[in-house]
Amino acid sequence: MNALADQLLVLSLLVNFIVLGTSRLAFSVRAVALQGVVLGVLPALIHPFSWHLVAIIIGMLLAKGLVIPWMIMNAIRQAEIRREIEPFIGFIPSLVLGALFTALAFVFASKLPLAPEHEGLLFVPASMATIMCGFLILMARRKAISQVIGYLVMENGIFIFGLILADAMPLMVEAGALLDLLVGVFVMGIVMNHISREFSSLDTSRLTALRED
């Protein structure tokens, strides 16, 4: 069981690299949706059955697999952009940095002691690596859509960490956190729609009217 979980985590790490390495926005959105689905399935593998668990899984699958990707795709369609043209950090350097960050995450995770039931599992390093990659995307891309994608990747990383706490954490917090993130992204989506209407582009590098001269 745990071996399967590890393989799924590796899959989600791969998704990180896909997102880092591609310029096609629609492709990254789908990849992130896949990551969300993979992560949504994970709890079923490591935790015993409970209604609480079912609720989380369904919530995850719906939110990360369907609603959010659909919303972002919608935004892409409206703004009529397909590609991230001028990333702040190029795709090859992004991949290299992503690899570096992933390695760093493994080092960091190995420095900190884990509970015995999590030792030998990829949860903590994968979570760290995904968060760092999310950060990297946020820093490396200029377009608002890419940044939402980066934020989603980061969220996924945090979610992985949350998984190892899921059975111990009360439902209310979990659900609240999920709901909040969902609403957060949802509001971002609305704002993106407004941006595309106002600027006819989702390039956040154009959003630099507010600055100090």
Binding site: Q147, T204, R211, E212
Partner: protein, 659 residues
């Protein structure tokens, strides 16, 4: 019970401060008409008489009273105390407040300044009350609050005519300087709290610290109080502030508020019994430097009020010199030096708070009469403004330190202190005397210039030609002040009992009869003799001249037939020799067009003395810092992804640092 409380002069003093604070409040509520101003004046009269009477009687009785007031702030008890040091400083506050309030009725009448008068009157009272609270506060935080109330009230008074760019600029510089000075006082009172473990002031000599902590306290006090007093080079706010405020406000700022800095220093010194010798040396040197540079800058000014403002720096310098000399005397166990320095300084505090407000009032009546502050546009006012001319003349003589006015008395004591050391063990102290003499010489130039350029000769402009005399409401307070100046100059015996109760606190080394080495009787004699001789000569000469033929003619123009007022020797020209001699200190900005050809076009000439430290040092420094800041401001470039990078970098740095 109640009547007993009200008979206690200490309570009366506090009531007087309260009345002062609220004297302007009716004016804020009753809009329109002069009722508010009249009520404020009435309040000022009541407060001043209550306060002066009680303060002087308490001072002569050498009593100390303490009150504790309940407050809920976490800074120990709110203590208010009246000791000789406080009472002494209350005297000028009430005198100048009274005179200024009376003067305002003519100078800033509610009828012609409908919108600004209520605020001006209100803050005037608040300023005086703030100063009153400063001197009675016995808790560091209460002191700071009073201090800032005073500073802010002063600010609002100053910018009352904020339509003018110059006023706003002066106000900003003042406010910033006051704030930085207050920051130094934050340090001062925090350190004091550290050493006393309470915000309450320690008693006389109650603070026993040496070496580094004492040095830190001294430096903080010197910056905090010195900037308020206007010691060089912390004076930058002073000239333009005094110049741009309404004149009765300048009188208050210069006559009293500067003394609050001196009060703070004296209060601080009273805490520490064993003051290092070098403190006195630093203070005396700073004082002499301020006095000399201040008067040199004053001499070169073209603006009558800036001139007076710089002269305030000079006088504060003289006061600081006196205190420094007294501290040297205290530290070396030399009672004579301590006595003469301190008495000289204390009397000069009183004297300066009489003649400087007088001169600012005079400047006010000149501005009132002509509508300009430019000395070079005045001239010949003496014929239309007889009383103002006479009062200004008296003030000018008094501030130049000449007999028979009071300025001479305090300077004489300082000289005696210096000269006494020529024969004793501190011969280098005596070097202060020639500097003081030089200061006196330049002061003479300055005030001959002030009086000559305004009242004497022919009018240099239309404004000057059509000037008008100030009303009685302005002249009466001026006359009172001049009378006090003359009284103090001829009968210093009257002033000395006000200063001597402080000596036990400030210079404990002085014991026994304080007046022993002071030639008080001789000063009286000299004053009477000058007045008598002059009267006698005037009488006999008048008698003589009345028998002789008399004629009037125009001034002999050395053959030039059509002299005009514009060709007179201006004030600027009068001080030009000195200014050029002191060009290393007094920078002037001269702008003139190059003249070419046989028939040159009309050209303009501009000559303006600069505020050396502000314009040559601080503003360029600010510019450099501003460029640096502008460079740093690029960090906020508006690119969101880099902002995320900041977060990431912070996280990374903190993680690295903590592990």
């Amino acid at each position: 019970m109640h009547s007993d409380v009200l008979r206690d002069p200490a309570v009366l003093v506090l009531i007087a401060i309260l009345v002062t604070a609220f004297s302007g409040v009716p004016g804020l509520l009753i809009r329109g008409g002069a009722t508010g101003q009249r009520l404020a004046t009435l309040g000022a009269v009541i407060a001043a008489f209550l306060g002066l009477h009680s303060a002087i009687s308490l001072l002569l009785a050498k009593t100390t009273t303490t009150f504790v007031i309940a407050w809920n702030l976490p800074f120990d008890a709110c203590e208010i105390g009246l000791d000789p040091l406080s009472l002494f400083f209350l005297i000028p506050i009430f005198i100048v407040f009274l005179c200024g309030s009376l003067y305002a009725n003519g100078y800033w009448p509610a009828s012609s300044h409908r919108s600004s008068e209520p605020a001006l009157t209100f803050f005037y009272g608040l300023l005086a009350a703030g100063m009153g609270l400063v001197v009675v506060a016995r808790n560091g935080v209460l002191f700071l609050m009073a201090w800032e109330i005073m500073a802010l009230a002063g600010y609002f008074l100053m910018v009352i005519e904020h339509d003018k760019e110059e006023v706003r600029r002066a106000g900003t510089v003042y406010l910033v300087a006051a704030h930085i000075g207050a920051a130094a006082l934050f340090v001062f009172f925090s350190l004091l709290r550290l050493h006393c473990s309470s915000f309450l002031f320690p008693g006389q000599g109650g603070l026993h610290i040496v070496a580094a902590p004492a040095t830190a306290l001294f430096i903080a006090a010197l910056i905090g109080f010195g900037s308020k007093a206007g010691l060089m080079p912390l004076h930058i706010w002073l000239p333009s502030a005094h110049a741009n405020a309404p004149s009765h406000v300048s009188a208050m700022l210069s006559g009293v508020m500067l003394k609050m800095g001196i009060y703070g220093l004296l209060r601080f010194f009273s805490f520490i019994a064993d003051r290092p010798l070098w403190w006195g040396v630093v203070l005396a040197v700073a004082g002499l430097v301020s006095a000399f540079l201040g008067i040199c800058l004053a001499a070169s000014q073209r603006d009558i009020k800036r001139l007076l403002a710089y002269s305030s720096i000079e006088n504060i310098g003289i006061i600081a010199t006196g205190i420094g000399v007294a501290m040297i005397g205290q530290a070396t166990g030399n009672p004579r030096l301590a006595l003469l320095g301190m008495v000289g300084a204390l009397l000069h505090i009183l004297n300066h708070s009489l003649f400087k407000p007088l001169l600012f009032f005079c400047a006010g009546s000149i501005i009132h009469g002509t509508g300009t502050r430019e000395l070079d546009r005045m001239g010949g006012l003496g014929k239309r403004m007889r009383w103002s001319a006479l009062l200004t003349l008296g003030g000018a003589i008094a501030i130049s330190g000449l007999p028979p006015f009071n300025g001479f008395v305090s300077e004489l004591f300082l000289y005696l202190g210096f000269f006494g050391e020529a024969r004793a063990n501190l011969p280098y102290v005596v070097l202060g005397a020639p500097v003081l003499a030089l200061v006196g010489g330049v002061a003479l130039i300055t005030f001959v210039k002030l009086y000559g350029a305004t009242f004497l000769g022919n009018p240099r402009s239309q404004q000057a030609a059509h000037c008008h005399e100030a009303p009685l409401s302005m002249l009466a307070p001026m006359g009172t002040l001049l009378g006090l100046c003359l009284l103090g100059g001829i009968f210093p015996q009257l002033l000395l009992p006000l200063a001597s109760p402080l000596l036990a606190t400030l210079t404990p080394v002085v014991s026994g009869t304080a007046s022993q080495p002071l030639p008080l009787g001789w000063i009286t004699m000299a004053g009477v003799a000058i007045l008598g001789l002059a009267a006698l000569l005037a009488f006999s000469l008048r008698h003589r001249v009345s028998a002789l033929p008399k004629a009037t003619a125009t001034t002999w123009g050395c053959g030039y037939l059509r002299p005009s007022g514009r060709m007179e020797y201006t004030g600027t020209a009068f001080s030009e020799i000195l200014t050029s001699l002191m060009s290393g200190i007094v920078r002037t900005r001269v702008a003139k067009a190059a003249i070419s050809g046989y028939a040159p076009p009309p050209a303009a000439f501009c000559y303006a003395p600069e505020e050396t430290i502000l314009e040559r040092l601080l503003l360029p420094l600010f510019d450099i810092v501003g460029i640096g800041f502008a460079f740093c401001r690029r960090l906020q470039h508006g690119q969101a992804h880099i902002y995320v990078l900041y977060i990431f970098a912070t996280l990374l740095l903190l993680m690295l640092w903590i592990h």
